[in-house]
Symmetry: none
Subunit: 210 residues, 4 copies
Amino acid sequence: MEEKREVHASVKDENLIKKRRDQMIHGAVSLFKEKGFHRTTTREIAQASGFSIGTLYEYIRTKEDVLYLVCDSIYDEVSKRLSSLDLGQGTLASLKLGISHYFKLIDDMQDEVLVMYQEAKALSQEALPYVLKKELEMVSMFERLINRCVENGELDIGKEHQHLLAHNIFVQGQMWGFRRWALKKAFSIEDYITLQIDLLFSGIQGYQTK
Amino acid sequence: MEEKREVHASVKDENLIKKRRDQMIHGAVSLFKEKGFHRTTTREIAQASGFSIGTLYEYIRTKEDVLYLVCDSIYDEVSKRLSSLDLGQGTLASLKLGISHYFKLIDDMQDEVLVMYQEAKALSQEALPYVLKKELEMVSMFERLINRCVENGELDIGKEHQHLLAHNIFVQGQMWGFRRWALKKAFSIEDYITLQIDLLFSGIQGYQTK
Amino acid sequence: MEEKREVHASVKDENLIKKRRDQMIHGAVSLFKEKGFHRTTTREIAQASGFSIGTLYEYIRTKEDVLYLVCDSIYDEVSKRLSSLDLGQGTLASLKLGISHYFKLIDDMQDEVLVMYQEAKALSQEALPYVLKKELEMVSMFERLINRCVENGELDIGKEHQHLLAHNIFVQGQMWGFRRWALKKAFSIEDYITLQIDLLFSGIQGYQTK
Amino acid sequence: MEEKREVHASVKDENLIKKRRDQMIHGAVSLFKEKGFHRTTTREIAQASGFSIGTLYEYIRTKEDVLYLVCDSIYDEVSKRLSSLDLGQGTLASLKLGISHYFKLIDDMQDEVLVMYQEAKALSQEALPYVLKKELEMVSMFERLINRCVENGELDIGKEHQHLLAHNIFVQGQMWGFRRWALKKAFSIEDYITLQIDLLFSGIQGYQTK
DNA sequence: TATGAATGAGTGTTCATTCAT
DNA sequence: GATGAATGAACACTCATTCAT
């Protein structure tokens, strides 16, 4: 269903490729988080991955491939963990639950989200679209969730509002990732979820606050 | 009132410093926007500024100084253009107007906001706080605006909601800057403003949609 | 017995390090002799060593490391070739022989001695002590030789004279290295040795010139 | 009597040239002593001299000119203060006095001597000879002093020994300058003078120790 | 005569990438 | 498949020197 950008490997054994790339992604995430993509060297990535620089290049073609692999893997993880959302029943409660799951997930994957968020734009024009596409897919997921509520008569907002709302939810999730430094002073993740849902929902037409 | 981090210049003439740094900031913004801070070389910055690499270094000490100067200048510009907000009367109308001004401003300063948004984190631990502080000041500006409405009895939301709402407004402004690629497909800036205000306000307790 | 300042290498193979550094030292000595440390570029050192600038930096961390390596190696060589001195029997004849060996050695290692002599002071405060320490060890070597003669009753001079005499011998050796331009007009190395020993010894108390 | 290498100045007023160059030499000596010629920038020299970089270049053509001027001035000073030596009567006592004067002078002019000693070799092939020539003149001064003693019958050593002795005295003077770090642990300048004269003289043929 | 802003060739150093073993 | 030594283009930054004012 979703196309991937193929990253070339010299090695043939697919299992080995998977294994080595997992080592690589794991090592790279913590390095990228600590010092950013540009300040991290391929040598450091190789070392953090537990193999030599030569071996690293058996599984990628360029340093940027590592970033792509990292971003791709993070999105996959996020998508996988969010896939349950689609099971929503089209009730406001299930939409709220979805948002809550999503925000908690972001909190769980702080490092990864931060990395993706801050470094993705370093991807080349070739690789960036693949990542942005995934982002839009996630927005769409929320949009579908919202739309189902509308179709179910639980919400009464127009197409455009639905679309923007989905974006807002998505960005508010990321916001907890990239603005933690400011938000943590005032809110725990639970507070954040409660308050954001308050703010979000009490304004949606047709929803009766009291 | 606000402390600045001093950037060292070898040249003494303050007017000249101002002039050259303006050239520099202008040249750097478009380069940073195009290729990011890390992929931009100091020679390119010098060239885009209209002077030699030697001259560039008469006005800064390190490449990072350029980034700081750029971020600092953008925030100054944004702050200056937002200062009218504080004149708000504590009515919902003036709050909406403030938000609208802010979103339009972001739209105006697309390039600058994008750069600041994406590259600020490349600042060293020494310079970053100065920039983050400015960010918080802007959030506070919105918080005061909101709070005035609450005190005026035009809004009825708690302290925490006020704080988060200010953050949301701030981030939604930035969002127009850093997610234009996705939003522009669906909305013009005017649409965006209208819809976001709808979404924001129609949920605030005590506000009567229609 | 003697501590070394470790110079970091990225390469692990110790034999290779030894080999490459020998190439490096050899290339650097002739460059430093010709144009001095400061006027020699790292690129020139790499080229004279027979490898690329990248490879050079696999075996050192900074340009100064090259100077340290050069100085260290020269002292090692001098020390090695002088170690026979310690075998002296405590006779005036063996002291003279030692001096003669030393002066000839300096003559042999003209370039190296000149370099060390003129460039060592360019070493940082961190590396300089290691080199000065070696210098003092060499002075001590002569002092022991002299002292043995005194204990043997072949010489009758006080502690202080012994100490200064050792310094004088050491410096007179170097003098042949760094003042060759003036001395060569009047003396061959053999002349120099004979005359210096004359001057040195005919003044030592208890030594009977005729 | 002695040729100078002319250093070009754009300014005409000879008195001004003298004044500015004195400022320059004074400033440069302390800088060269502290960080060496190569690590000192022309800007620093200008600043230490009390005028601007532009003014500096009104009185010299290249940075090396400063070094030449410094070396030249130091030798002039040393020569001037040693000129009394020539008044010696051709007695051993006056030779000793001369040596003593010279050693004390070196002690007095520690910084200058050290600078000259360590940096002179950085002079270009064009300027170096002028400095070396001065050095030889000083050696000759000692040689004449010694020779007068020989002619007076107070000493009985051959031409070659006389020549080498003069070199030795000259170098032993410098030695106090450039090896103070080692010698000061054991000797005061007075000790050094006494002991060196002991060592020097008690060996000269025809001189009766006691 | 004095100033100091402007210049740009040159420097030490890094690091992604390759390839022989 | 794995290794790590070798490479050199590229970079940030310096500084001697010039010249318009």
